[in-house]
C-alpha cells in the first residue's frame, strides 16, 4: 500500500505544481506578454465571472440550493461598492470591496430564507424574485446611482494606498489577486466543518438533520458566503472590467450564464468554475473570430451570430449528455490518461 499512497500524493502534488505554475505564469508572464485586448476584454471578465461561479458553486454545487438570481448579487456588490466609495471617500478601496461583499451577503441571507421551506425549482423560481426586485430597486431609486439622470454610473479608478491600477495589465493583476485570495479562502471554508455541513445538506437534508447539522445556519451560511463572493465579483466586473455600472447588465441572462459556467465546468468543483468560465467567456469569442475570418465575407455579422448561437446551444446539450459531471470530469480523466500509473487509483 505505501506505493499507492505515495502515488496518490504524487498525483495531487503534481496537480498542485501545475496550478502553481499557472499562477506564476498568470502573474509573471501574462501581464507582460498579453495584449491589451487579451487582458482587458478576455482575462479580466473571465476572472470576474470565475469568482461569481465559485460563489454560485458554493451554494448550488456544494450546498445543493439552485439559484437563478446570481446577477442580482453581482449588481448589489457593484452598487454597494460604488455608494461606499462615493459616500465614505475616506474608506480604502479594499474595505469597500469587503463591505460590498458584506452587503451582498446580507441581502443573500434575506433571499435565502425561503430555502428553509422550498426545494428544487420552487426555490429556483423564488430566487427570481431577488433577480427582479434588485434590478427594479436599483433603477427605481436614483439614490443608488447618485441621482445620475440616466442611472448609469462611472466606476471610480481602482487604487490601493495611493497606487492606482489604471492600465489593463494593472487591472488584471488586481482582479487576479482578489480572485486568488477569495478562492483560497473559499477552499478553506469548504474544507471546514461548515463545508462538510453544506455537502450533508445537499446529499440528504433529513439525514443531515438527524446527524445534527444545523439546517438553518448551514443554509443561510451557504447563501451568505455565496452572495459575498458573487458581490465581490460584481465589484470586479463593474470596476475593473466594464468601468461603468448599469442595472441592465445584471439581467437574467447573466444569472443563467453563471449557472451555465458551473454546470458546464462541473458542480462542486472550484477548478470546474474556472474551466467553465473559460469555456463560456472564451469559446464564443473564438467562435466569432473564426466565423468572421472564414465566412465574414460571405455572411453578415447577424447571420454569423445566429449560427454561433445555434452552435453554442447545441454544444451545451452535447456536453451535458456526454459528460454530465462537467468539463472538470473530462479534465480529470485526461490527467489520469497522461499518468497511466494512477489509473488504478481512480474509481472506474
Amino acid at each position: 500500500m505505501p506505493t499507492l499512497i505515495s502515488a496518490k500524493s504524487n498525483w495531487f502534488s503534481s496537480e498542485a505544481l501545475w496550478i502553481g505554475l499557472v499562477i506564476v505564469a498568470a502573474y509573471g508572464i501574462i501581464p507582460l506578454a498579453g495584449t491589451d485586448y487579451l487582458l482587458d476584454a478576455v482575462l479580466t471578465p473571465f476572472l470576474a465571472l470565475s469568482l461569481a461561479a465559485v460563489g454560485l458553486n458554493v451554494l448550488t454545487g456544494y450546498a445543493g440550493q439552485v439559484s437563478l438570481g446570481s446577477a442580482a448579487f453581482l449588481a448589489v456588490g457593484a452598487y454597494a461598492a460604488y455608494n461606499l466609495h462615493l459616500r465614505f471617500p475616506a474608506l480604502p478601496l479594499l474595505i469597500d470591496l469587503v463591505l460590498a461583499g458584506g452587503v451582498a451577503a446580507a441581502i443573500g441571507i434575506v433571499f435565502g430564507l425561503p430555502s428553509l421551506r422550498l426545494r428544487g425549482f420552487y426555490l429556483a423560481v423564488s430566487t427570481l424574485a431577488a433577480q427582479f426586485f434588485v434590478q427594479w430597486a436599483l433603477t427605481k431609486f436614483s439614490w443608488f446611482s447618485n441621482d445620475n439622470p440616466s442611472g448609469v454610473i462611472d466606476a471610480p479608478t481602482l487604487s490601493i494606498g495611493g497606487v492606482a491600477f489604471t492600465s489593463p495589465a494593472e487591472r488584471y493583476v488586481f482582479t487576479l489577486t482578489v480572485v486568488i485570495v477569495l478562492t483560497l479562502l473559499t477552499l478553506r471554508l469548504l474544507r471546514s466543518q461548515s463545508g462538510r455541513n453544506f455537502i450533508a445538506v445537499r446529499d440528504h437534508e433529513i439525514a443531515a438533520r438527524v446527524i445534527g447539522v444545523p439546517l438553518l445556519r448551514t443554509k443561510l451560511l451557504a447563501f451568505a458566503a455565496s452572495s459575498f463572493l458573487i458581490g465581490v465579483a460584481g465589484v470586479l466586473w463593474a470596476f475593473a472590467y466594464l468601468r461603468t455600472v448599469e442595472p441592465a447588465g445584471f439581467n437574467l441572462d447573466r444569472s443563467f450564464q453563471i449557472l451555465f459556467i458551473i454546470i458546464i465546468g462541473g458542480l462542486a468543483s472550484l477548478r470546474g468554475s474556472f474551466i467553465g468560465a473559460a469555456f463560456i467567456v472564451v469559446f464564443p469569442l473564438l467562435l466569432s473570430r473564426i466565423g468572421a475570418a472564414l465566412l465574414g465575407s460571405v455572411f453578415d455579422s447577424g447571420v454569423l451570430e445566429m449560427s454561433q448561437r445555434i452552435v453554442i446551444g447545441g454544444l451545451i446539450i452535447v456536453f451535458l449528455s456526454a459528460e454530465p459531471r462537467g468539463l472538470i470530469a473530462l479534465w480529470d480523466r485526461a490527467w489520469a490518461a497522461i499518468r497511466p500509473a494512477n489509473r488504478s487509483l481512480l474509481p472506474s
Binding site: A41, W136, E305
Partner: protein, 442 residues
C-alpha cells in the same frame, strides 16, 4: 542577363507592392461598427447600421471616398449588450485610421466614454446618449448629435403646445408620460417636471416594467386619469403593446405622442390598426424620395452592394437615421480634411471636424438631404448642434410628416446640462476647456 531582368521585375513588383500598402494605409478612414443584428433590438440595429453602411458605400462608389480617402468599416456583433460592446471596442481599437465610434446604445456609449477620451477618438451618439455630454467643454470627444434626451422632451412639449394653439394654452392640460422602466426611460423625469411647472400643465409619469409586454394596469390608470395627451417613451416591444392596449381602453391614438425611440415602422406595424393616427417625434423624415436616398438606391443597391436584406426597408425611420448618421460622419471628416489635409486623419483631427460640423439648410440641400433632416450647427462647446425635430403620423402604411421643423428650448435646458457636466468634471477632475482652440493631437 536573365537574372538581372528577374531581379528588376522583382524590385518593381516590390516597389509597387510597397507603394500600394503605403497608399492603402494613407488613404483609408476606418469606421468600427458595434452593430446589433441579433436579439431583441435587431430591427433597430439592422436598419441603422444598414443605412450607415449604405451611405459609406455610396461615398466610396460614387465619389471614390472622401477626397480620395476610401472609407472602410468592420462590424462586431453586440446584441445591444454592454460587455460585448466593450469586447468589440477592445478588439477594433488598435485598427489604423479610426474616424469615430457609433454604437447606437446608451449603455455601450457610457462604458466607452473613459476609453475613447483616453484614446482621443470621437464617440457619436446620434439622437441618444448622455445628455450632459452636450457640453463639449467637459466632454471633448462625445457628440450626442442632433438631439439629446432633454431637447427631445422640450420638442415634444413644444409640439403639443403648437397643437393646442400656443404655449399659454398648455395651462390646465393634463399629460401622462408612459416610460420604459430603465435608466433610459427615467432620464427625462425631471425635465418633464420642470416643463410642467414652467407651462402649468398637469403631469403624471407612469412606469412600464421591462420589457413591457403587459400594460393593462398602466392604461387603466391612464383611462382613469383622462389625460389630454400621452407621451410614449418606449423601447422595443413596449411600443406596439402600448398602442394596442390604448385601443383596448379606448384612448385615441392621435393623442399619443411617441418619443424618438418609439417612432419607427417596427414600433407600429405589430400594432396593426391600433397604430393608425399615432404621432411620433423624429429628427429625420422617413421615405425614399430624397435625392440622397435615390442615389443610394441607384449606386449602392443597383451595384448589389446594399446592406438591407429587405429592400422594402429602404427609407424606413431607422434606415434614414443611419443615412443621416453617415452624412454627419462623412461631412465631419470632410471638414477636418479641409483643415488638416486630404489624408487619413487621426481621431483627434476628426474630433475637430465634428466640432466644426456646421451644415446649414443650403448645404443639406446640396447633399441631397433637403427635407430629410433640417440642419446642424455643432461647436466646440455645443456638441448636440441645435438639431430640429419634426412630427410624423402613421397612416396605417407609412409615416407622414405633420409639422414644421420645431426647435426645442435649448436655452432653458443648457443650465441643467452645465450643472450636470460640472459635477462630472469635478468627480473626474477634468479641466473644463475654455475655448475650442486647444491642441489637436496627431
Amino acid at each position: 542577363m536573365n537574372v538581372m531582368r528577374r531581379l528588376k521585375v522583382l524590385a518593381a513588383a516590390l516597389a509597387v507592392g510597397l507603394a500600394s500598402t503605403l497608399a492603402a494605409r494613407a488613404d483609408e478612414q476606418f469606421f468600427p461598427l458595434q452593430s446589433y443584428r441579433v436579439g431583441p433590438y435587431a430591427a433597430g440595429g439592422t436598419g441603422f447600421f444598414g443605412g450607415f453602411i449604405d451611405y459609406l458605400n455610396l461615398i466610396n462608389i460614387r465619389d471614390g471616398g472622401i477626397n480620395g480617402v476610401k472609407l472602410t468599416w468592420d462590424e462586431g456583433e453586440t446584441q445591444y449588450e454592454v460587455e460585448r460592446g466593450v469586447e468589440v471596442y477592445e478588439r477594433l481599437k488598435s485598427r489604423p485610421g479610426i474616424a469615430a465610434w457609433n454604437p447606437l446604445s446608451v449603455g455601450i456609449a457610457y462604458a466607452m466614454i473613459d476609453r475613447i477620451s483616453k484614446d482621443k477618438v470621437p464617440l457619436i451618439t446620434i439622437n441618444h446618449g448622455r445628455t450632459d455630454s452636450t457640453d463639449g467643454r467637459v466632454f471633448p470627444y462625445v457628440f450626442p448629435l442632433l438631439l439629446n434626451p432633454y431637447s427631445e422632451t422640450s420638442g415634444i412639449v413644444n409640439y403639443i403646445a403648437s397643437r393646442e394653439g400656443g404655449a399659454d394654452k398648455l395651462k390646465g392640460k393634463k399629460i401622462v408620460v408612459l416610460y420604459h422602466g430603465s435608466p433610459y426611460g427615467k432620464e427625462t423625469i425631471p425635465i418633464y417636471k420642470l416643463l410642467a411647472d414652467k407651462y402649468g400643465f398637469e403631469l403624471e409619469q407612469i412606469e412600464v416594467p421591462h420589457p413591457g409586454n403587459e400594460q393593462q394596469s398602466q392604461w387603466l390608470s391612464i383611462r382613469r386619469a383622462k389625460p389630454d395627451y400621452v407621451v410614449l417613451r418606449g423601447w422595443g416591444v413596449m411600443n406596439p403593446v402600448a398602442l394596442k392596449t390604448a385601443q383596448k381602453v379606448g384612448f385615441p391614438a392621435d393623442h399619443i405622442i411617441g418619443n424618438v425611440w418609439s417612432n419607427s415602422e417596427e414600433d407600429v406595424i405589430p400594432a396593426g390598426d391600433a397604430a393608425k393616427g399615432y404621432i411620433a417625434i423624429t429628427t429625420q423624415a422617413s421615405g425614399a424620395e430624397y435625392p440622397v436616398l435615390q442615389e443610394v438606391i441607384k449606386s449602392v443597391y443597383g451595384a448589389n452592394k446594399g446592406n438591407l436584406e429587405d429592400k422594402k426597408r429602404i427609407g424606413s425611420v431607422y434606415h434614414n437615421l443611419g443615412i443621416v448618421n453617415g452624412i454627419l460622419n462623412v461631412e465631419a471628416v470632410r471638414i477636418a480634411q479641409a483643415k488638416f489635409g486630404k489624408r487619413t486623419l487621426t481621431g483627434d483631427e476628426v474630433r475637430w471636424g465634428f466640432e466644426h460640423l456646421q451644415l446649414d439648410p443650403a448645404r443639406v440641400e446640396a447633399l441631397g438631404a433637403k427635407g430629410l433632416f433640417h440642419s446642424i450647427n455643432v461647436t466646440w462647446d455645443n456638441h448636440e448642434g441645435d438639431g430640429r425635430v419634426t412630427f410624423q403620423q402613421w397612416d396605417g402604411s407609412k409615416w407622414k410628416v405633420v409639422s414644421d421643423w420645431i426647435a426645442p428650448d435649448w436655452a432653458a435646458l443648457r443650465p441643467i446640462i452645465e450643472k450636470s457636466s460640472a459635477a462630472y468634471a469635478k468627480e473626474h477632475s477634468i479641466k473644463i476647456r475654455a475655448s475650442g482652440d486647444d491642441q489637436v493631437g496627431q
